[in-house]
């Protein structure tokens, strides 16, 4: 299948993953091929097919707006690589 146009540098930047030139080449080709498969899907005739909004016939599944016990602050933060002031500290990604 034809590889789709694919800007691997841009996507890697979005994902904050640094790639070597070799990895850029290999992954760019692989991801391009996967996107190329979309063309195969377009070959389907779905004129008479109802769009599937959801796998099960359930709508508006809600609960009462009542506070209930949940994870403690301490448990929630236990795996945080960095924490401070009761909050997760994460790398800055937006300038």
């Amino acid at each position: 299948m034809a590889a789709a146009e694919f800007d691997i540098k841009y996507v890697a930047h979005l994902a904050r993953i640094s790639l070597s030139p070799d990895e850029e080449k290999k992954l760019g080709a692989q991801l391009g091929n996967i996107l190329g498969y979309i063309e195969k899907l377009k070959e389907l005739d779905v004129t008479n097919v109802e769009p599937t909004a959801h796998a099960v016939p359930m709508v508006n599944v809600t609960r009462l707006d009542v506070a209930a016990p949940s994870l403690s602050h301490e448990d929630a933060l236990r795996n945080a690589p960095r924490q401070g002031g009761g909050l997760f500290i994460v790398p800055k990604i937006v300038e």
Binding site: V56, R78, N79
Partner: protein
Amino acid sequence: MLNQLTISELTARLVRREISAREATQSCLDQIDRVDGKIHAFLSHNNADALAQAEAVDQRIAAGMAAGQPLLGVPVAIKDVLAVKNQPLNCGSKILGNFISPYDATVIEKLKAAGAIIFGRLNMDEFAMGSSTENSAFVTTRNPWDTARIPGGSSGGSAAAVAADECIASLGSDTGGSIRQPAALCGCVGFKPTYGRISRYGLVAFASSLDQIGPFTKDVRDAATLLGVMSGIDPRDSTSVPEPVPDYTAALTGNIKGLKIGLPKEYLVGGLDPEVKAAVDAAVKKLESLGGASGNFPAAHGLRGGHILYHCHGGGVGEPGAV
């Protein structure tokens, strides 16, 4: 050997006090020591914790407090994609570092309430993205029947562990075949419950409108037992359905007269391995001889279904292969 028993056999012997839960768990741990160096089904397992759970079961049995628990004393190993409190949760990946889950998935709560011994983190394709378990960030699990072969995936560790009698049963997850395919490749029972049957709370998501948790077992009765324990609506999973949970084991009468068996004709075409076709044909003939009736039906949109499936997954990792 106790690790070779089924859930039905083990629970019966435990209730009759012929064996202890500690002996049964130890038997599984011994088997892991014997074979897992070659099979690599387990990413980790905590022997002391498993034996402590087993001893707690034995104490409850001795105190007469263990009536009616369908998984009493049964060592069940868990795919590394399910949250078990105070156990590592890595999804076969290095991305989550030393993450220790602070909570139990709903299915784990249900298994514990049913008396099961929850142990071990089973190998898988990273974040369930794969069909061979070769995409684990740690190790490739081997098929116990031939260690030069793959066990399938993404629940390869779950399938291999049951097939190699390293546990009595295991849990896996299935998005596009990740229980069914490794169960077939490793020769154990595995199926994907209907979407919405089992709560996904505590299952690390891959494709949220497709994911389901399911069992790997040594026989169908055990699978029905586990399905019954795990099924049911859960307020913490808004995609779980309010269908009542019947006694699934009651359907195992052995009588299949009048059962209709559908064969998707688009999958039984050229390119199918002749040995696989022969095995499917033999199974169909056997079911027909027992009273079932088979017929072809068109799978929706034919072989294109494979491509659709792959994209519903989000593309997976690496080159898409034939599905």
